[in-house]
């Protein structure tokens, strides 16, 4: 469960978030939709306790991001788009294991979990090789495994498919489905309507740090009587300039 309450955040003279509110019940996948610079990454960074909000707060599975940041972090996994952020001189297993240990898992649990993840992500061939020479796709799988090694009840995805080809994006989509089936609470940020429409039941559309819409995709479409893409363009256009 994720409850976001009145988040505001400024960087020097840029107001990145101007009061963001939404709620994701346990086991739901929420799409966080917005153009570049809308404030998606900032929102997710605040939820992951990497940034402190100027005001407002958020509660993840009962833990307040301001009061118990350590517990919040232990309860969430986060997957970033772009560079994988792995350590080239460590093996895939060591990379994943490092995050397991930092999330206070026991050695046996980590081993078991890595075996399981190696299996479902089909990394058996290279799990004990150093990451440095991996292909983009291999690295991506390792970073997925790393983000979820501690089996967190909450997953945050920050535009994880940006810059990926179709088949690599599909790996991410399958992984998201996996999370859904396991009953995890998920926020999936994207600037692509099509992707969000396919993957999420409910969406938040943010623009320039404000929530423009917060509803299920079905009811948004019904209410405005148009498809998501047109709706988004229209909403953003109204707000614009």
């Amino acid at each position: 469960m994720i409850e976001v309450k009145g988040l505001k955040k400024s960087f020097k003279d840029v107001e990145a978030l101007r009061g963001i509110d939404f709620f994701v019940p346990r086991g739901e996948v929420l799409g966080l939709l917005g153009e570049n610079g809308a404030g998606k990454t900032t929102t997710l960074r605040i939820l992951a306790t990497m940034l402190k909000p100027n005001s407002g707060t958020a509660i993840l599975n009962g833990y307040d991001i301001l009061e118990q940041p350590h517990m919040v972090r232990k309860n969430l996994g986060i997957l970033f788009g772009g560079e994988s952020g792995l350590y080239d001189r460590l093996t895939a297993r060591e990379n994943i294991c490092y995050y397991g240990e930092l999330n206070d898992m026991s050695k046996e649990d980590i081993e078991k979990r890595i075996d399981y993840l190696t299996d479902i992500l089909e990394m058996g061939e290279y799990i004990d090789r150093r990451v440095g020479k991996f292909s983009k796709g291999m690295k991506q799988k390792v970073s997925i495994a790393r983000s979820i090694v501690h089996n967190p009840p909450i997953m945050l995805f920050d535009e994880p498919t940006s810059g990926l080809d179709v088949s690599a994006a599909r790996v991410i989509h399958r992984f998201l489905d996996e999370c859904r089936q396991e009953g995890k609470t998920v926020i999936f940020s994207s600037h692509s309507m099509g992707e969000v429409e396919k993957l999420c039941e409910k969406i938040v559309i943010i623009h320039k740090g404000e929530v423009l819409a917060y509803d299920s995709i079905e009811s948004l479409k019904a209410k405005h009587n148009m498809d998501l893409e047109n709706l988004f363009v229209e909403m953003v256009g109204e707000r614009g300039e």
């Binding site: 960087f11 960074r45 992951a48 306790t49 990497m50 940034l51 402190k52 350590h70 972090r73 232990k74 969430l76 986060i78 970033f80 772009g82 560079e83 994988s84 952020g85 792995l86 350590y87 080239d88 001189r89 460590l90 060591e94 490092y98 995050y99 240990e101 930092l102 999330n103 206070d104 150093r130 970073s143 790393r146 983000s147 501690h150």
Partner: protein
């Protein structure tokens, strides 16, 4: 701070940096080999030069009058070979001749008249062998001059001892119960070399690690995922700090091993025959540890601040030059009359305390001041790094 997390981060970082060839080159290979290689080649050069000087030194005598006593004397002295040359000055420049001795025509005449007779040694100022030959020939001529002086005194019926009213000997004071410090040259060498190494090699050894562990995390985009794990920032930072400190210490230790090896290769060039008491050794170790701790913190905070490897390298390279300032400054300070205020200056005080310890001066005030200031500096550098690491604008600098 969570000790388990510190340990996990430390273990991982050590594994990571020691799988990096750069760490081995910077913390082990370079410190270990620089001095032995340097002194190996210096020694080779010196041996070569000595060998050349052992051969008879070819000199040319320029004079209109070959029939003079001094020429016979030089012809008969050992180590010199008077040679004939068509173009002596060109030969001198080519190194075939080591020097040219110009003797005036009336030289012999003046000696006989008991007037000062002058001669000129012309040498090649860019050739070491030529200037060494010049000193040698000067000594020989001085000896000859002495001989003539004695003859003249005898002729006057004067005992030569009358002209030597004093005999001076020089002896270093060694307090009772203490041993002599050893060879003077060795003492100078070691009081310069050791502070130099203990300042430079924590940085040489720790820099690649510091760059990788700070700005490296940003560059490879691994900082955000790392900060979103269950580990707190202070634990992460402490683990990283300790890993860099380890690399610094390894760099320092291997450089010392290199010096010991060098002194085996070239015992004349690096005489290590200086006696150091256990207490002094303890002070040296503690001081150098303090230096490594300060510098590791400094390097990590700079590296955390930098956006990329390149930027970190740009900021960190001048650090080595800045560090040499106190080492060179202290070369011209007298160890017995150091002003206490000097011991308030960070790093300079460490160098001075090391120098004192090396010559057996144990001054509690100096030591306490230096250690207090070092500890304050270590704490400050850690706080500063932590401040940087907590600052959103530093972590997410773009």
């Amino acid at each position: 701070m969570n000790k388990r997390h510190v340990w996990i981060v430390f273990k991982k970082e050590v594994k990571d940096i020691f799988r990096d060839r750069r760490t081995w080159i910077a913390s082990v290979l370079i410190p270990m080999l620089v001095f032995p290689l340097l002194f190996f080649f210096m020694n080779m050069g010196m041996k070569n030069m000595e060998k050349n000087m052992e051969k008879d030194i070819p000199i040319y005598i320029e004079t209109p009058n070959q029939e003079m006593d001094i020429i016979h004397y030089l012809n008969n002295s050992q180590g010199i070979q008077v040679v004939e040359e068509e173009k002596p000055y060109e030969s001198l420049q080519e190194g075939k001749l080591k020097l040219i001795l110009v003797i005036d025509e009336d030289f012999q005449e003046k000696i006989e008249k008991e007037q000062p007779a002058s001669l000129k040694i012309i040498f090649d100022e860019v050739s070491n062998e030529s200037s060494m030959a010049a000193s040698m020939i000067e000594n020989k001529i001085n000896a000859y001059s002495e001989k003539i002086r004695f003859q003249r005194l005898e002729k006057l019926g004067i005992n030569p001892e009358i002209l030597q009213p004093m005999i001076i000997t020089r002896e270093a004071y060694v307090p009772e119960g203490e041993e002599a410090k050893g060879d003077q040259g060795a003492l100078f060498m070691i009081t310069f070399l050791l502070p130099f190494l203990l300042m430079l090699y924590p940085v040489v050894g720790g820099m690649p690690a510091a760059i990788d562990l700070g700005s490296g995390e940003k560059e490879r985009m691994s900082l955000e995922p790392l900060l979103s794990t269950g580990a707190g920032r202070l634990s992460i930072l402490t683990g990283k700090y300790l890993a860099i400190l380890l690399a610094s210490i390894i760099g320092t230790i291997t450089s010392l091993m290199g010096v010991v090896a060098a002194s085996k290769i070239a015992p004349d060039a690096i005489p290590l025959g200086v006696r150091i008491s256990p207490l002094s050794i303890f002070i040296l170790v503690a001081t150098s540890l303090g230096i490594a701790m300060i510098l590791s913190g400094l390097m990590l905070s700079i590296s955390v601040f930098a956006r990329s490897y390149k930027e970190a390298g740009t900021y960190l390279s001048p650090v080595t030059i800045v560090l040499m300032v106190p080492v060179y400054l202290t070369m011209f300070m007298d160890i017995r009359t150091l002003s206490t205020s000097l011991f308030f200056i960070p790093l300079l005080n460490s160098v001075l305390v090391m120098k004192e310890a090396l010559v057996g001066i144990i001054n509690p005030l100096h030591i306490i001041l230096t250690f207090s200031i070092s500890i304050i500096l270590v704490v400050l550098s850690l706080f500063f790094t932590r401040f940087m690491f907590n600052k959103e604008s530093v972590i997410f600098r773009s």
